[in-house]
């Protein structure tokens, strides 16, 4: 009997080991051996962008039967946190969508691959050289811009028209804006806009209108506590009067359109980037429109064209060539461009842009027309923000939370922010 047991034991042990080996081989066979290369591709965005991206990726897989792409996406806040954790663990996805704010940190941290080395499969000749340069750090092309975007006042067309308040026009000022949202509140009973006090992006537009910037050329803070206190006093006064959305609404903002007051039907307008505003279409049934951001009272525009997002490849990818092929496909392929439209901003590839422009429809058309209306009127974009900025965006929202819940005066919160920002930028 003991003998039998031993044999049985051996047999099962051998079986187990074989199973493990087989499983192991199965995995590695897929990724390294002659079989398929598996790429992980992640991005942030809304369901509309997800649907189109999935279609484009399916087409890529059809064209490259030896490559399989695993995709995943989430809202911006969650994406930002998850990617930071993955990147620090050396487990960044093979192909990742990046924000202007992430490039400096990720590039200097050795997370990103030098894309110039993949020139054989990744063409950049048809991208505007100035735009392309925004993806460079210390002369190395770590990321490639995917589209061009700009801030916008996005509004519920029907509600605004029905209210009888004059529609926003080019060149309107922040005072005009405040007057309009006040009138909207009076006539519709709903706040006229999302409280822009929490948005660092809106603050930047306001600040640039006054000839200042978030950061100096050397990466220091480009404004004082006085500037921020003035901005927050402006928004705080409107919020207290019920003209913009209340604190309970603003605190729920997380970068997704679904959680904005406009998306929940609790405000008439919002400030956002133009491309992601397509997400409102599904949740604001009466339709939306885009208006330029308000200018300073002397007419200086604060908004600018920004590379809306970038594509980067992990420095630790086992499939550099395949990853570069996917990037090339997403940027330069004619068919892919037709599917993707303007969901990540207007395409950067000049030929693609020209050829797809007439094909753009629905909201993509709206974004393209909106950008065309601003062409030549805006000032140059600021240089890429310093690495500490990534955390400061969150700090900005948190400090404004203290203002909107009336726990601090705009002045106190502004001083807090400036102290924290200076410490963050030093380290």
């Amino acid at each position: 009997m003991p003998g039998h047991r031993t044999k049985g034991f051996c047999a099962s042990a051998v079986a187990l080991v074989l199973c493990a080996l087989a499983a192991g081989c199965g995995d590695s066979g897929e990724s390294v051996g002659g079989g398929k290369a598996v790429l992980r591709y992640t991005w942030w965005g809304n369901p509309d962008r997800a649907e189109r991206t999935e279609q484009a990726v399916a087409l890529f897989e059809k064209q490259h039967p030896d490559i399989s792409v695993q995709t995943s996406f989430s809202g911006y806040d969650a994406y930002k946190q998850k990617l930071a954790v993955q990147a620090s663990g050396g487990d960044a996805p093979d192909v990742m969508q990046l924000d202007y704010r992430q490039i400096d940190q990720y590039a200097s941290g050795g997370v990103l691959l030098d894309l110039a080395k993949q020139r054989a499969v990744l063409r950049t000749s048809e991208i505007d050289s100035g735009l392309l340069a925004t993806g460079r750090v210390d002369g190395v092309q770590y990321a490639i811009p995917q589209g061009r975007g700009t801030e916008t006042v996005v509004y519920d067309v029907k509600a605004w028209k029905d209210s009888g308040v004059p529609l926003p026009r080019a060149g309107w000022t922040w005072d005009d804006w405040a007057e309009a949202v006040r009138a909207l509140r009076d006539r519709t009973g709903k706040p006229g806009a999302t409280d822009p006090g929490q948005s660092e992006d809106a603050f930047e537009v306001w600040l640039r209108g006054r000839g200042k910037a978030l950061y100096t050329k050397s990466g220091g803070l480009g404004f004082t506590a006085d500037d921020l206190a003035e901005w927050w006093t402006f928004t705080d006064t409107l919020r207290r009067a019920g003209v913009v959305s209340p604190a309970e609404q603003t605190t729920q903002l997380d970068g997704s359109v679904e959680n904005t007051p406009l998306g929940r039907g609790k405000a008439v307008s919002d400030t956002n980037w133009d491309a992601p505003s397509s997400g409102y279409l599904a949740i604001v049934p009466t339709g939306i429109a885009l208006a330029p951001m308000p200018s300073d009272s002397d007419g200086t525009p604060g908004q600018y064209f920004k590379p809306s997002m970038f594509l980067g490849v992990s420095a630790h990818t086992g499939h550099a060539k395949e990853a570069a092929q996917l990037v090339d496909f997403l940027l330069n392929d004619q068919e892919a461009a037709k599917i993707l439209g303007a969901t990540r901003g207007i395409p950067v590839n000049e030929t693609v842009r020209k050829e797809t422009a007439p094909l753009l429809k629905d909201f993509d058309r709206t974004v393209a027309d909106y950008q065309a209306s601003l062409e030549g009127k805006l000032k140059d974009p600021p240089q890429a923000p310093p690495s500490g900025d990534n955390a400061l965006q969150t700090t900005f929202q948190r400090d404004y939370d203290q203002v909107s819940y009336a726990r601090m005066s705009p002045r106190e919160a502004a001083e807090n922010y400036v102290t924290e920002a200076k410490a963050e930028l030093r380290s």
Partner: protein, 313 residues
Amino acid sequence: MTTTTAIPAGKKRAPAATPKRHPKREREGAAWVFLSPWVLGASVLTLLPMAVSLYLSFTDYNLFDPPHWVGLRNYTQMFTEDPRYWRSVLTTVTYVVIAVPLQLALALLVALALKSMKRGKAFYRSAFYAPSLLGASMSIALVWRAVFNDGGTVDNLFGTGGWVNRPGWALLAVALLTVWQFGAPMVIFLAGLQQIPAELYEAAAVDGAGRWRQFVSVTVPMLSPVLFFNLVLQTIQAFQVFTPAFAVSAGKGGPADSTLVYTMYLYDRGFVASHMGYASAMAWVLLLVIGVVTAVLFRTSRSWVFYASEGDR
């Protein structure tokens, strides 16, 4: 026991030969073989990371560049220059003071009710225990957020406008999620209650003690070791609360930092602001504080925890 009878006659000499083969060393070897998974796990997954974290707490480390030694700066910055740190400490202490007593009281109450039940005990025990199994999951925490959000169930019932968006109420919503998971201490209480000899109650009843008197003079002292065990365990867990606060505030510790508990601020410093050194320093302070709190609990336990064996001394 039966070895001698089981060994065939021919092999009777075999046991005599074994002592020469250093049985002690052999047994030790076997022990290490069997222990190895644990030893490996403990050293690679616990001790090593702890050592690294201790080292990092004296450095400035942004996850990407190599760590840079700064001595005690993280600790001094924490205690003297970071108001948000102290706010997170206060939030955590408030949370512990609300959640732990509420949870233990509820667990004991339900355990008492279950003990006196005649039928369906197993069903209710499982039903009340289920939240402890489910509660730690993100999905339940998200449901919780939806329930307490504006337009959610609580808002519809009481017209409170949703708790999770009101700084004064959000922490209570987080605490309730923990309290709701009272199943684990409840099961332990139930086991403790069943250990109390029925004679004690009979004797008390003969002496004319009512139900309340029996509870105070028999149940509580007899249950005190179990109560103490639950208290220590739940306090330690409460200090480390993360998931409910994270989910209920959608990862932000808001509104207005009202649910920014210690571990969430630690997470924020480490993974959002990329200050791993600072986050590690925070983790070590938390470890020390939990150690001190546990020691204090043990010290006070001498005056109120009653062990049956003490009567023998």
